[in-house]
């Protein structure tokens, strides 16, 4: 297969970037999207050009490191697919593909397709944990947890923190990410002691990081490679109302 790639190139955080067009040919349909970038980078290196910088790690769709906008979709037009799990058979031969980084004030571009997502780390640091008594491991089933609650927490915990929700949100809001982390802990008894402080601190950090405000469009849910539901955003809203009233 052959493609015309229009890739966002930006030397560093302060530089003004622009799109550069790269024709690539002789690509197998079973090439993954990141492998396509690898192949292009090898060819760029061979002719002495600067390779395209992009984030990647596990390439199994579970680490949340990769991701960029592909033809206007966060990660991919395919549902629940990270960029590394996207394959060139999903595109048509000869297609022009526009590749740009996540765009959000809270995610500044560091280089080419790499953005700084440490705002997510700061949100987690401010409350995405539970205080436990360190010591010997508790007995299994010492704390009874209803199956439904465990399932709900697991659904929320599926979030890999890739940032696609922010990228796809028309408001660049981080509500889906933050709500998944809050809902995961609020669904389980272990998360209850810090329940009120957690939602206040995590939302406050989210606001200070420069994210936008949710308008319930649902673009985040559609873009999420793990299918995190906007129902968790309503859960966050309930938690914050509870904290405002009684906290």
């Amino acid at each position: 297969m052959q493609f015309t790639l229009k890739v966002w190139r930006q030397a560093d955080r302060e530089a003004t970037g622009d799109f550069v067009t790269y024709p690539v040919d002789d690509i197998s349909a079973d090439t993954s999207f990141l492998e396509l970038l690898d192949i292009l980078n090898e060819r760029l290196l061979a002719r002495g050009d600067e390779p395209i910088a992009f984030d990647h790690d596990c390439r199994e769709g579970i680490c949340g490191t990769c991701g960029c906008m592909v033809n206007g979709f966060a990660h991919s037009h395919e549902r629940e697919t990270t960029l590394c799990q996207l394959h060139m058979r999903s595109f048509t031969d000869g297609e022009t593909i526009i590749i740009e980084p996540w765009r959000s004030r809270a995610f500044p571009v560091l280089k080419d397709l790499i953005v700084d997502r440490s705002a997510f780390d700061r949100i987690i640091q401010s409350g995405g944990f539970i205080a436990i008594c360190a010591g010997s491991a508790p007995d299994a089933n010492a704390t009874p947890i209803p199956k439904e609650a465990a399932d709900r927490a697991m659904d929320a915990a599926a979030c890999i923190g890739c940032g696609a929700c922010v990228a796809a949100c028309p408001n660049a809001a981080a509500m889906l990410f933050t709500s998944a982390k809050i809902a995961q802990l609020a669904s389980l008894p272990q998360g209850h002691p810090e329940r009120i402080e957690r939602v206040k601190k995590m939302v406050s950090t989210m606001e200070l990081s420069g994210f936008g405000s949710c308008t319930n469009h649902g673009e985040c849910e559609a873009a999420c490679p793990k299918g995190i539901s906007v129902n968790f955003i309503a859960k966050l809203n309930r938690e914050l109302i509870r904290a405002a009233l009684w906290g």
């Binding site: 979709f73 740009e100 673009e219």
Partner: protein
């Protein structure tokens, strides 16, 4: 002493809850207003009596008007704040961006909202204060029926009202489901009902309100 809860409205989530609650008040008014106005189909005496009854409420009427005005003003303030926050959140826009999930109604909230605000100002000048009378007939504060009918006999004014009610229905369509989500009234079991309720309220408001100018234009309702 610090004010409890007030800090909540410094967060975007708090502002969204505020928009939901104020939106609920305004939607409640819109439905009551429409129900009252539909009495135009029951003849001039009925509608004029209803108007006289509202005026006879005196102080209570002004309390109700105050609540609705306060809700509308707060709604606009919260909406402006969260919109500015969101615009700041993405300083450089995408070269290509594709919607996957959001409805047309959701995407036009920020356009429809200010347009509705302008319409409401015009509507108040036309039928509450009587300052603007495109029909050329004198405004009679005791003859609501004729004020409405003379107004809607002007085709472009009816068209303006019909378009405005279309915009209102769109705003309510996303607004009702969105307000329930914002205040946390969301449950997988009830979500189909949440979207159904939005469509029902939006549809009822559009049909009910548009039926009045259409009936006047069709000659079904004549001046008394």
């Amino acid at each position: 002493m610090t004010w409890p809860v007030l800090g909540f409205f410094n967060t975007s989530t708090g502002k969204k809850v505020g928009m939901g609650v104020t939106g609920f008040v305004v939607v409640g008014f819109v439905i009551a207003h429409m129900a009252g106005n539909l009495q135009v189909f029951m003849g001039p005496e009925k509608l004029n009596q209803y108007a006289a009854f509202l005026v006879s409420l005196g102080g209570l009427l002004w309390v109700l008007r105050g609540i609705i005005l306060l809700a509308a003003v707060l709604h606009v303030i919260f909406a402006t704040q969260v919109t500015l926050q969101s615009w700041r959140a993405r300083p450089s826009s995408y070269a290509v961006y594709r919607y996957q999930a959001s409805s047309y109604a959701a995407r036009t909230m920020r356009l429809g909202g200010p347009m509705l605000a302008l319409f409401i100002i015009y509507h108040l000048l036309h039928l509450t204060f009587g300052v603007v009378q495109p029909a050329g007939e004198a405004f009679d504060p005791h003859h609501v029926y004729n004020n409405v009918v003379y107004g809607f006999q002007v085709w472009w004014l009816s068209a303006l009202y019909i378009v405005a009610m279309g915009l209102l229905a769109l705003h309510i369509w996303h607004g009702v489901s969105s307000m329930l989500q914002s205040v946390g009234l969301n449950h997988p079991k009830w979500n189909p009902w949440r979207f159904g309720l939005s469509a029902l309220v939006a549809g009822a408001v559009a049909l009910g309100n548009i039926s009045m100018p259409l009936a006047v234009l069709a000659g079904l309702i004549q001046p008394a």
